[in-house]
């Protein structure tokens, strides 16, 4: 009798707990992750998926603000040491305890995954992880390092027990895919589906207990097919709704659409390192000195861009005008900078003052399959520039060809183009990311200016960026980053921002998705309407 009672209680318990998380969810994703191994490929689709299974020490919420995840507190205890206190009572999916050993193990593995096409070395180099006790870690650096929480918000913590000696294949098969996250890994059929199930023992740092019992991710690459799958009820949520369809789908009462700005700025890089730029000619085709070296011309170009029309017409209203590198709300954004007004008169005057009153000829380049409506943006830019006398030709190409030429297509692996459309997403969620990559002087030896394809260079800006990167006080650092942006973008026009990309998710009407600036699609961000 006693045994029967117990069985009955267990059974009722099972029923109740399954009722609490009884729903299943199917998500249609534009891009499929290339692996389940959280350290194999540091790219959006992979990081987004692994956030369901694994946790980071420092969490990053929908606006890329930090919250305590596997670490409950973190602070610098001296100039070169950060102390992280770990969350107690956290269990791995197999029931074993999460401790500091797992963190130390992760720090060794994450940067050294064989065959990794993009690893986490950038975030882990120069850091030494020391276990103090079972739930305390000290991370030592050689120099003061303020971006420690940002860096550690990218690296997923793996279990030492399962991770030792595990290859990427072991994660893909599920053997080693044991995390602490809200969902457990069940199965991955490449090209077909990824299956997860709820982790009832989740510690709850992100939105509490998992809301869905079983989650199915289906990669559906083409936009129309993704929308059709949602309309047909085969999936409950889709990401990357094409801007062209947003207005029409919003009218559909059986769907909920949510849009939000991303951390990605769409901007122009301009050749500022060649006396004669290969794609710029005088009117009629003669050689001229590169006009883009002159800040007045760069400013004229910015004034010639009708950002309102760009957002309203080209982007169908699904974008935000940009005047700097990140939208308001991010750390290090300047409160003083606004998008340049549309003023062709002033632009023409600047052209004339700089000695190019008759204009010049220029071929402008852009990708046609990388950013939302990228080719259309380049075409619109060409028309806008021709209004101030710059005769433009447009050349767009697939990203597979474009980025190589944009980075290293010229002689001695220099950037090839004179004027190019690009985008930058600040993965770290603050302004140092675009500043150091796009506007710091290109310098291989210190890892700066890697994506500075216009080779803009201003020692004053470099100095402020470097000072910011060693300022531990967050407010002081934010001010320095804003100052660097004001000079590099606002005064120098080192790059010309156009707009911030916005992303749109669509769900069936009973659900809605909280948009994220990092463009991730996280099941934890879905709420019931």
């Amino acid at each position: 009798m006693n045994i029967l009672n117990r069985i009955l209680i267990i059974m009722i318990g099972c029923v109740l707990s399954s009722m609490a998380v009884a729903k299943d969810l199917t998500v249609g994703l534009k891009s499929e992750p290339s692996s389940i191994d959280p350290h194999y490929h540091n790219l959006g689709p992979n990081n987004s998926l692994s956030a369901h299974i694994f946790d980071t020490l420092v969490g990053s919420d929908e606006n890329q603000q930090h919250y305590p995840n596997l670490a409950v507190t973190w602070k610098p205890i001296n100039d070169t040491t950060w102390e992280f206190k770990l969350r107690k009572g956290v269990k791995w999916h197999d029931g074993s305890d999460f401790t500091a050993d797992d963190v130390v193990f992760t720090s060794k593995r994450a940067a050294n995954v064989p065959k990794s096409p993009s690893g986490f070395g950038t975030y882990l180099k120069g850091k030494t992880f020391v276990k103090i006790d079972s739930h305390t870690i000290h991370i030592k650096t050689e120099k003061p390092y303020p971006l420690m929480p940002n860096d550690l918000s990218t690296v997923k913590i793996i279990s030492k027990k399962y991770g030792e000696g595990a290859s990427t294949s072991d994660y893909n098969s599920g053997k080693a895919a044991i995390g602490t996250g809200p969902y457990k890994f069940v199965e991955w059929v490449p090209g077909d589906k990824i299956v997860l199930k709820a982790n009832p023992n989740y510690h709850g740092a992100l939105k509490g207990k998992p809301a869905f019992n079983k989650v199915l991710f289906k990669p559906i690459k083409t936009g129309p097919a993704r929308i059709a799958a949602l309309l047909a009820g085969d999936v409950d949520l889709i990401d990357s709704v094409p801007p062209l369809d947003v207005a029409r789908l919003k009218k559909n009462a059986s769907l909920t659409l949510t849009s939000g700005p991303s951390n990605r700025v769409i901007y122009i890089h301009l050749d500022q390192f060649r006396e004669n730029s290969p794609y710029i000619k005088a009117i009629g085709g003669g050689e001229i000195k590169n006009p883009l070296m002159d800040v007045r011309i760069r400013k004229a170009i910015s004034l010639a861009i009708n950002r309102d029309a760009m957002v309203a017409k080209v982007m169908e209203g699904i974008a935000l005008k940009a005047g700097q590198l990140l939208p308001a709300g991010f750390h290090g954004v300047s409160p003083n900078m606004k998008p340049d007004p549309y003023d062709t008169k002033a632009a023409k005057k600047l052209m004339a003052d700089a000695g190019y009153g008759n204009g010049f000829e220029m071929t402008i380049h852009g990708p046609n399959d990388r950013y939302i409506n990228d080719a259309k943006i380049v075409e619109a830019l060409a028309q806008m520039l021709s209004r101030i006398g710059i005769k433009t030709k447009v050349e767009t190409m697939p990203k597979s060809v474009y980025f190589k030429r944009a980075s290293a297509g010229g002689p001695n692996k220099s950037p090839e183009f004179s004027f190019m459309l690009l985008g930058w997403g600040a993965g770290s969620g603050e302004a140092s990311s675009p500043l150091r990559a796009l506007l710091h002087t290109y310098d291989k030896s210190i890892g700066m200016g890697r994506a500075n394809r216009g080779r803009h260079s201003d020692p004053a800006v470099d100095k402020i960026i470097q000072q910011a990167l060693s300022t531990v006080n967050a407010d002081a650092r934010g001010k320095l980053l804003a100052e660097a942006t004001e000079i590099a973008v606002g005064k120098n026009y080192g790059v010309i921002p156009i707009h911030y990309q916005m992303n749109t998710w669509a769900a069936k009407s009973s659900l809605s998705y909280q948009p994220r600036t990092d463009e991730y699609t996280l099941v934890m961000g879905i709420s019931n309407n």
Binding site: G28, S34, S35, Y40, H41, N42, L43, P114, K115, S116, P117, S118, G119, G121, T122, K125, T168, S169, N172, V189, P190, G191, D192, K193, K218, P219, I220, K221, T222, P224, A225, A228, A229, L231, A232, G233, D234, V235, D369, P398, K399, S400, V401, F403, K404, S407, A408, W424, G425, G427, S428, S433, A437, K444, G447, R450, A451
Partner: protein
Amino acid sequence: MTAFILRRSTQSIIVLFIMSLLVFSGVNLVGDPVEMLINPEADQAEVERVIKELGLDKPITEQYWYFLMNAFKGDLGTSFIFGEPALKLIVQRMPATIELALFSLFISLIFAIPLGIYAGLKPESKISKTIMAGSILGFSMPTFWVGIIFIMFFAVYLGWLPSTGRGEIGSFLGVKSSLFTLDGLSHIFLPALNLALFKLSSVIRLTRAGTREIIHQDYIKFARAKGVAESRVINVHLLKNILIPIVTIIGLEFGSLIAFSTVTETVFAWPGMGKLIIDSIYNLDRPVIVAYLMIIVIFFVFLNLLVDILYTLLDPRVRIQGSN
């Protein structure tokens, strides 16, 4: 026969070698895979690690030499993106593509041959004219567009069939396929029909032309004069004789169904090889592109051989050279 097969095999190896040279140098001319793969925030040190990891720091001739040496051992390289052997990735996705191709071939044949024969026997009837007009539509409409229309109509509007993906996988006599479950069949129907449409149309036209030609042959007239039942005239005398060109076309088309069903697979998110190759091309996953094309070459060589052998069975007048 053996000599014939042997000679064909030698030729195939030469074709394969030339193909590998062309493809390998071709894909290495375009773009930079590292730019595609790496996180933009990575620094130069990380970029250099990746270049080394992928073996792209070595000169192209050396890369090709390694490729050839490994190919002899059956290793066609490791995917840049997935970090797994390219061959494994392709083989993993092959069943989905083959079942899609077979099912669409099945659809096109069961409809195309009867319709084609009918249109050939009664060329002036209204139904025949409708069939022929329909067949023109069939191969002039773009696959991508038709696919989307199918989804909108059958999945979204009527809600009869699922819009995307592959269904449950069943097992029959040890073979695993989604053709063996009801859910699987409901998933495969739309993409297979989409893929079949073009083939359906060309086989209808081919069957009709063959029928028109053969129906006036003496042996048909003789059979009829002899009093052979009309059904036997059509099913035996006629059908056997029109099959020769159809077998050629089906053989070659089956190859292209498998190799280049990329559009249909992309629209219907079908997890087959076509989707793999198109994603690999977009993302410059060079080893997968090379391995895929190698496999396709082998596949086509094999199919052609099969078609040649089938000929001799269908038409005793055809003798394979070297068989005597």
